[in-house]
Amino acid sequence: MELLTQPWHWAVSGFLIGLVVPLLLLLGNKAFGISSSLRHICAACLPANLSFFKYDWRKESWNLFFVGGILLGGFIAGHWLRDPHAVEIAAATRERLAGYGIYDHSRLLPPEIFSWSQLLTWKGLIFFVIGGFLVGFGTRYAGGCTSGHAIMGIANLQWPSMVATACFMAGGFFCTHVILPWVFGLVS
């Protein structure tokens, strides 16, 4: 049981994540990809006569079951396989985050940012509202996210997915080294 509750090694985790690709193909010839679910939710709930949301989302409903499963998996991992220890963070990152006023590593997300009490603050606006918007807008504009492009696309030797993944990383590096230091200076 301790094997299950402790954080899993990157090689084990990567192998198990990679197996989801053949698993979905074997279950029903489905291509691994998660950001499409956000589009299906729009098509189902608020199509607003936009051509981008006019398609039969019911034919893609497997994808909504899949993300529902991810939610359930998150619950199972949190309730029965929870690791009682703090997230082990590299010393250099820990120091840098302390400079931003982030000290609590006891859970997967820092409570100094990701808690309901921050919702109506500048932090909340930037970290959940604007950040989330960029995730949804960017992945759809790019035609996929880390699952659809970085894993499925590259594994299938698709060069457009290599380009997309390189841009994901470039955007992330720029944000971490240029935007976030500025943002933390502003909000803390």
């Binding site: 990567g14 979905l24 921050q118 989330g132 699952s147 841009c167």
Partner: protein, 136 residues
């Protein structure tokens, strides 16, 4: 009912995402600060496993459990992969999450991530509304 198998596959994936800690904002910060190999190790291993599996499926002509042929549609390039990719990268570093982890985190008990998910859905919707005016 046939969709239940995808719910189970998702649950498996969700458990791995959490246990791998790739849903952790801290791990994403480490990745972009180049202070830990963890995320790189997970992603490279996942790609390698998926790549080898795809080769086996293609070469051996393996079919689905219901006997249907397996085929993966090719991806075509457009400038969206550049511009959209950069924008997603910004959001990835801010929220510490891509779409999959958003669902896993909510299930894990981080209810405030529901706000992030709604914002991501709004972002997807706005993309659908302005798509024709963007360079592709």
């Amino acid at each position: 009912m046939s969709n239940i198998k995808y719910l189970l596959a998702g649950a498996f994936f969700g458990i791995v995402l959490v246990k791998a800690e790739v849903v952790s904002w801290f791990r994403i910060q480490e990745m972009f600060q180049l202070t830990s190999f963890h995320m790189y190790g997970v992603i490279f291993t996942a790609i390698l496993t998926a790549m080898l599996s795809l080769q086996v499926i293609k070469r051996a002509g393996i079919k689905t459990i219901l006997g249907a042929p397996i085929s993966v549609a090719p991806k075509t390039f457009n400038k969206g992969q550049l511009f959209g990719g950069l924008l997603f990268g910004l959001g990835w570093a801010i929220t510490g999450a891509c779409p999959g982890p958003l669902f896993a985190l909510i299930g894990n008990g981080f209810t405030v991530v529901i706000v992030t998910l709604f914002s991501a859905i709004a972002g997807t919707w706005v993309y659908g509304a302005v798509k024709n005016r963007l360079p592709h």
